[in-house]
């Protein structure tokens, strides 16, 4: 448990708070303030994983979001497993349990690594496109084995125990990144009074300043960070969000911030806390101060554990007080790379050499290196790392001025760590999410954000500004500009004084030459996670994959979980060079959200389980539950499907409900039907235009069935509309279609017929609706009302009356979807349950029977009434349905649908038309969805005539009945069609009328 690589002092860890954790089954210790990767380094853990394709051992390379190798499985329990966590970004907590994600069967002995060495040469990019083709069936076999190697970590197999939430935010200024530029921008903007959100992906704000050797205002840079954060924290108009990554930059300055609220605390979130939160931010102005990612240099065997980014070495030493090795060779193309050597030396360990690829570097660092007595190899490069599971030496050779050739023999330097710096790539990702294209800048030696269409500016290293003074100045400027843009007055701020080394020019170098050409040299890795080498990229371009997108897709460059943060620019440079182009000509691939991976659960938020989609309940819902109803989802509504009694089969329940209704009285909760209140002097005219039938003469107190079509003439909804007053109507719609119909009506009113004076609103939820149907329904209703004259002559079929039912004001509609004497009682929803129960109280002696949607379907089918959406499918017009009577062709206004149903194809005689179907064997119920043919013995593919839309066993008729569509069916009454079923049976059926029961409609007119 000794932390052999822990420095005795320094760093930002809290040595008073030791923590234990495990990796790969071994127990280790660390301190609060560590990341998992710094704690692993402290304990001398070298190999974190094996590579995907070649099975090569891999160690920690970076210290942040760009880490490709140290990808671990986190989680102490099954339900808290998290795949693919970057150890560099995971704060250490006590009891953390982690496992490697790659390397089978074990980290130490990897079979793939063994085979990778044997067969690695046979696995060029795209090798799978070129083989595994023969015989045809073989791919299934090969794929099974290829899939076994897929993936890094694993999904949990139990549901998540934690919760996630969303927070919508509006802010004047959002600043992304709390390094020197972001902090100074935040300070300036906040002092103006603007509301500021400052978000940073790390647990501690400060960015590069937390490991910087530079001094601000005469003190350590971290002191300035602390002072600045203290001032910001004290301001009401500032929200500081550490552990919060701005992952997506969407249109119109909408950004998403993934805040990991508890990931640093433990395996699962503390009670009553959400694990993570998505901030959905609308910002008036955005300052991107996202910094830059250091590029490693590409050289042979550069994937050996011990090969690291120079800045990562510094970060581990200065911020976490851990040192990743004993003897260092540092290679750099720029001055920044020198810091790793100085920090290493200051930590008391051996710097073997500092290798500078430039021929004549200038700048303070070079002087300091000489002063420190570090062996300085100017105009040299590390061309190859040596070692098996850890670097044991670096081969160093002199380099030509342009860096493209070696000019002398290589020298072998023993060391266990090679740090490299190829310069810095601005973190332009967010600037590209809304379509911005980054542009190459030769001076920066990197892509910088191009012109932006969003209300946004950039500051610091993302803009190619790499010196600290410049970052602070630019941050201050852009903070002021952001405040101004958001409507605040920013006062000019004095800049802090900075002591930092003067720097010389950097060299544009990406891939270090080797004695052998790229195709023959030991592997030079560009993208570690996908094992993409320089040779692979070169080969891709040679094969003709010349677009950078092709290169990416063919080699998998940048497809890893780091999405190319580490390797992309190197890869592009190598591709450009092998095609004799500049990087500017080759261009870059496009960055898209997310910047770093985001938990599914955080994106879903609370909109899962019970809150996935609201359930709509009627006023009588609890009664249905109490009485054993099973429910059907209809739109968002829960509707009683049927009410099984103990011991009943579903069919027995339905038979009972059907018979009770036709022989006595049944009751249906019909509250879910859409209800639209329509008023205004032109309401009648309006309704006449949107329905296909006539409305001009419907008197007050009367109801009428209406059919609604689209402009294409196809039926999309239907329902009964009642005339409440000369200028007042109540329209009902299907349950699922209610919202759509209202929007449809509004669309026509507002866009086409604004001159019509008409107003409409949904009143669906205002009313509880109960339909009593059956010969005893009048008697039952009579027991509950004394102010409605129920006499059959004064309250006729298709009339409605206002009155009182069970002492509650009610509208009673004498309409029928069953063909029975039937009343639809509407009462204010709050009284619904009372009235419903009152009906049952009085209904006991009539054996009042509740029935659900399934019985409703059977009863209406016995009468041939259609259900829009079941018997129609958006391709049927009223004539197809045999509803000619519901189309009034000679209305003065060319109503919606009239022209559409007259198109050439709509007039064909052989259209699919709705008919009744009676099976020859009355006990067989045709399956809904069965397809009819004329000749069941014809070969496949068969000529189909149409499908069964509705089919039931009718207890009232003592046989099965069905409705369905048949090509030219209206002319084929009495003919026989055949339904070949999936079980091999062929069901014979006769085409009939859809009126199976009471064809004259006498039952409802009693």
């Amino acid at each position: 448990m000794r932390q052999t690589n822990r420095l005795s002092d320094g760093g930002r860890i809290d040595r008073s708070k030791p923590m234990t954790f495990s990796f790969n089954g071994n127990q280790y210790s660390g301190y609060e303030g560590d990341t998992l990767s710094s704690a692993l380094i402290a304990n001398g853990v070298n190999v974190i994983g094996r590579s995907f394709k070649y099975g090569r051992p891999r160690g920690i390379v970076a210290a942040g979001a760009d880490e490709p190798n140290a990808i671990v499985q986190l989680g102490a329990t099954e339900a808290t497993q998290v795949p693919n966590v970057r150890a560099t970004q995971q704060p250490l907590f006590d009891g953390l349990v982690s496992q490697p994600t790659s390397g089978w069967p074990s980290l130490k002995f990897d079979l793939l690594g063994f085979s990778g060495q044997l067969f690695g040469r046979a696995l060029p990019p795209g090798f799978y496109y070129k083989t595994f083709m023969f015989p045809q069936a073989a791919w299934k076999f090969y794929e099974k084995h290829i899939r076994k190697a897929a993936g890094l970590g694993r999904s949990p197999t139990e549901p998540d125990v934690d919760e996630y939430d969303h927070l919508n935010q509006h802010t004047d200024v959002l600043i992304v990144g709390a390094g020197p530029a972001g902090l100074s921008a935040a300070l300036t903007a906040a002092r103006s009074g603007a509301h500021v959100i400052l978000a940073d992906e790390q647990a501690e704000m400060g960015g590069s300043l937390l490991s910087s050797r530079s001094r601000i205002n005469g003190a350590e840079a971290s002191q300035w960070v602390a002072d600045t954060l203290q001032e910001l924290a004290g301001m009401d108009n500032v929200l500081l969000l550490p552990n919060a990554t701005v992952n997506g930059y969407h249109d119109h300055n909408f950004l998403t911030i993934h805040e990991r609220r508890t990931d640093h605390l433990g395996d699962r979130a503390p009670e009553n806390q959400t694990r993570q939160r998505m901030h959905r931010v609308r910002a008036d102005w955005v300052v991107l101060a996202t910094g830059a990612h250091e590029r490693p240099l590409v050289y042979a065997n550069n994937d050996l554990p011990g090969c690291m980014l120079a800045s990562a070495v510094s970060t581990y030493i200065r911020r976490y007080a851990v040192i990743p090795g004993h003897s260092l060779v540092a290679m750099t193309t720029n001055d920044a790379g020198y810091q790793a050597a100085f920090d290493w030396q200051d930590a008391g360990r051996n710097v073997v050499a500092l290798v500078d690829t430039r021929q004549a570097p200038t700048g303070d660092c070079v002087e300091e290196a000489r002063r420190r007595g570090i062996r300085l190899l100017i105009g040299h490069a590390v061309i190859e790392a040596k070692g098996s599971t850890r670097v044991s030496a670096a081969r160093v050779a002199p380099l030509s001025e342009d860096g493209q050739h070696l000019t002398g023999p290589a020298e072998k330097l023993a060391c266990d760590t090679i740090a490299s710096s190829g310069g810095w790539s601005p973190a332009v990702h967010l600037s590209c999410h809304t379509g911005g294209r980054p542009v190459w800048n030769d001076e920066v030696i990197g892509f910088v954000p191009g012109e932006s269409l969003q209300r946004q500016s950039i500051a610091g290293a993302i803009a190619g500004t790499f010196d600290l003074a410049g970052c602070l100045e630019q941050g201050t400027q852009q903070g002021a500009e952001a405040a101004r843009q958001a409507g605040y007055e920013a006062k000019p701020a004095s800049l802090p004084t900075v002591e930092e080394p003067a720097t010389g020019n950097a060299m544009a170098l990406f891939c270090i030459p080797h004695e052998q050409r790229i195709s023959r040299a030991p592997k030079q890795f560009v993208d570690f996670q996908n094992d993409v080498t320089a040779a692979a990229i070169e080969l891709a371009t040679r094969e003709g994959f010349e677009s950078i997108e092709h290169v990416k897709r063919y080699t998998a460059l940048g497809f890893g979980t780091d999405q190319g943060k580490l390797g992309n620019i190197n890869g592009m440079a190598i591709a450009a060079k092998s095609m004799n182009k500049t990087i500017a000509e080759t261009g870059t691939t496009i960055f898209r959200p997310n910047y770093t991976p985001v938990t599914f659960g955080a994106i879903a938020g609370r909109h899962c389980d019970d809150l996935f989609d609201p359930e709509r309940h009627t006023a009588m819902h609890d009664w249905h539950v109490r009485h054993g109803a099973l429910f059907e989802n209809v739109g968002q509504w829960k509707r009683p499907w049927y009410y099984p009694k103990p011991g009943e089969t579903m069919q027995q329940s339905l038979d009972r409900e059907c018979l009770a209704t036709r022989n006595g009285v049944g009751i249906l909760d019909a509250s879910t039907l859409g209800k639209i209140d329509i008023q205004g002097k032109d309401a009648r005219e309006f309704i006449g235009r949107v329905y296909t039938n006539a409305w001009a003469k419907l008197a007050v107190g009367k109801c009428r069935y209406g059919l609604m079509c689209g402009e294409d003439g196809m039926v999309f909804d239907d329902g009964v509309t009642s005339c409440l007053g000369e200028e007042h109507f109540l329209m009902t719609t299907t349950t699922g279609g209610a919202a759509h119909v209202l929007e449809w009506l509004e669309l026509y009113h507002q866009t086409e017929w604004p001159e019509l004076e008409v107003y409409m609103n949904t009143v669906t939820d205002h009313w509880a609706t109960m339909t009593i149907a059956g010969p005893d329904s009048r008697k039952l209703l009579a027991e509950l009302t004394d102010d409605i004259d129920l006499d059959k002559e004064s309250f006729k079929f298709m009339d409605w009356r206002q009155g009182t039912v069970a002492d509650v004001p009610a509208r009673v509609f004498r309409i029928s979807f069953t063909g029975e004497l039937s009343y639809e009682i509407n009462v204010p929803a709050n009284y619904g349950l009372d009235v419903w129960e009152a009906l049952f109280e009085k209904g006991e002696r009539y054996n009042l029977t509740p029935y659900g949607t399934e019985t409703m379907h059977i009863l209406r089918a016995e009468k041939g009434f259609i259900i829009a959406g079941q018997d129609t499918d958006g391709s049927m017009h009223p004539y197809d349905l045999g509803l000619d009577w519901a189309v009034k062709e000679d209305k003065p206004y060319s109503f919606i649908g009239k022209r559409g149903m007259k198109r050439e194809d709509c007039l064909r005689q052989d259209r699919k038309q709705l008919v009744g179907l009676k099976t020859k064997d009355p006990s067989i119920v045709l399956p809904e969805g069965a397809q009819a043919v004329d000749d069941p013995k014809q070969p496949v593919p068969m000529t189909m005539l149409g499908h069964v839309t509705s089919s039931y066993y009718s207890a009232n008729l003592g046989r099965s009945i069905a409705m369905g569509v048949i090509r030219g069916g209206h002319q084929r009454s009495g003919e026989t069609v055949y339904y070949p079923l999936s079980d091999g049976r062929v069901v014979e059926a006769e085409i009939t009328s859809t009126l199976f029961l009471d064809p004259k409609g006498e039952r409802q007119n009693v």
Partner: protein
């Protein structure tokens, strides 16, 4: 064409892979072609390949403004199935399915067509009626498709929550075992390589700026990079830009271009070995051979050529995925992107003659074009070769939107009682 094989791979390894041939040439365009295909995506390249292979028409150019296969071919979720409702579309997609089944061998390029089956879930009674209707039609059309109940679904995808406790419990599904996924880039590259080998010129980074016409007939295209290129017949296969090309030729299409988004998780160990699609809960998911969960979202309702959509669509999609697979809540989303889909009013493509003689369009594949790639190319090649719509293409004329003979694959109108 250099033949690919496992043995060849080893042989090349001996020479450090230094002797691989180019997969395709990079030719300068000729002055005249028998057929010009505008659009170098999967469908355009397949069209060129079948023109050359089946119809022996090799004086063909494919003109692509970006890089080959860089549009929706590179952006889709790679689902291949043929279980369509109507005869016209079922026959077209099944034609494609049969070509998929031998495609790797035909092209000598492994397109990794993986017949791991596709489930279309049903969550409501109406969903189940629609499934029965479609499955029955499929069966009588000779397409492998069966209806499953909840237990049948659970057996195929044990990790999905098939309990009744969900908001919209899974009542069953349709299941097409021959359906699956394929490697999208490989399809474009395989067709490109094979077409090139038969003499087709693939002209990349060349933007068509106008359709040249004489007396109401198309005679060629004007390009930004090479000026006029003449052609006997012109076929436009430019998903996402069909309206723009049609405008050049002076007519409109019944098409709107919408963003369609997709996303992938980080690669995880194999856990889902089939494709699951749900319309009601609104999301679809499969797992790639690399381990990524590949997830599709619904289209955004507005017109858009920006290859991106709205974040709320991504949210809704992941809500659906977590609802179906509560165990995926802690898995993490790596990347999202968008394509531009040309949607038609009936969710079926247009493979058609146009008001301009010698000009043909293949477009309007909406969200489902990838699966049709071989069939689309095959049928369009025949149409271009003969100068009139082939049998399978006939129902997909753009003029059906005048007569009303739509092939409405939206299925049930989505209206419930």
């Amino acid at each position: 064409m250099q033949r690919y094989s496992g043995f060849g791979l080893l042989r090349h390894a001996m020479s450090h892979h230094e002797n691989w041939q180019r997969v395709w040439r990079n030719p300068k365009p000729k002055k005249h072609y028998d057929v010009i295909i505008v659009g170098g995506g999967g469908h355009g390249l397949a069209t060129a390949y079948y023109l050359a292979k089946v119809h022996n028409i090799t004086n063909v150019a494919v003109i692509e403004k970006g890089y080959l296969g860089g549009g929706n071919t590179a952006r889709n979720t790679t689902i291949v199935r043929s279980n369509y409702l109507w005869d016209e579309s079922a026959l077209l997609y099944e034609h494609a399915m049969k070509l998929w089944e031998g495609l790797s061998q035909d092209l000598n390029y492994n397109v990794m067509f993986s017949q791991r089956g596709v489930l279309n879930l049903g969550h409501t009674l109406q969903d189940m009626r629609d499934i029965q209707r479609r499955v029955n039609a499929n069966r009588l059309n000779g397409i492998d498709s069966v209806a499953l109940d909840t237990q049948g679904v659970q057996e195929i995808v044990p990790i999905m929550d098939c309990t009744t406790s969900r908001r919209y419990p899974i009542l069953g599904a349709s299941w097409q075992p021959r359906a699956g996924v394929a490697r999208h880039d490989a399809v474009a590259w395989g067709y490109a390589r094979a077409a090139d080998a038969l003499g087709v010129d693939l002209i990349q980074q060349c933007e068509v700026t106008d359709i040249l016409t004489e007396d109401g007939a198309a005679t060629g295209v004007m390009t930004k990079e090479y000026g006029a290129i003449k052609g006997g017949r012109i076929g436009c296969v430019v998903a996402g830009n069909s309206g723009v090309l049609a405008k050049m030729a002076g007519f409109r299409l019944p098409i709107e271009s919408h963003p369609l988004q997709a996303l992938v998780s980080e690669p995880i160990r194999p856990i889902l070995d089939t494709v699951v699609m749900s319309n009601q809960v609104h999301g679809y998911i499969s797992q790639s051979d690399k381990g990524d969960l590949v997830i599709g979202a619904g289209i955004d309702g507005y017109n858009g050529y920006g290859q991106r959509g709205s974040y709320s669509t991504i949210e809704h999609t992941l809500q659906a995925i977590v609802e179906l697979f509560p165990i995926f809540s802690r898995v993490r989303m790596n990347r999202q992107w968008g394509g531009i889909v040309d949607t038609t009013p009936d969710a079926c493509p247009i493979i058609s003659e146009t008001p301009v003689e010698n000009l043909f369009f293949n477009c309007g594949w909406g969200t489902g074009g990838f699966k049709a790639t071989p069939g689309s190319g095959h049928v369009f090649a025949q149409t271009l070769a003969k100068g009139k719509a082939s049998e399978l293409a006939k129902p997909f004329s753009m003029f059906r939107f005048h007569t009303g003979a739509l092939v409405d694959e939206h299925g049930a109108a989505g209206v419930a009682h």
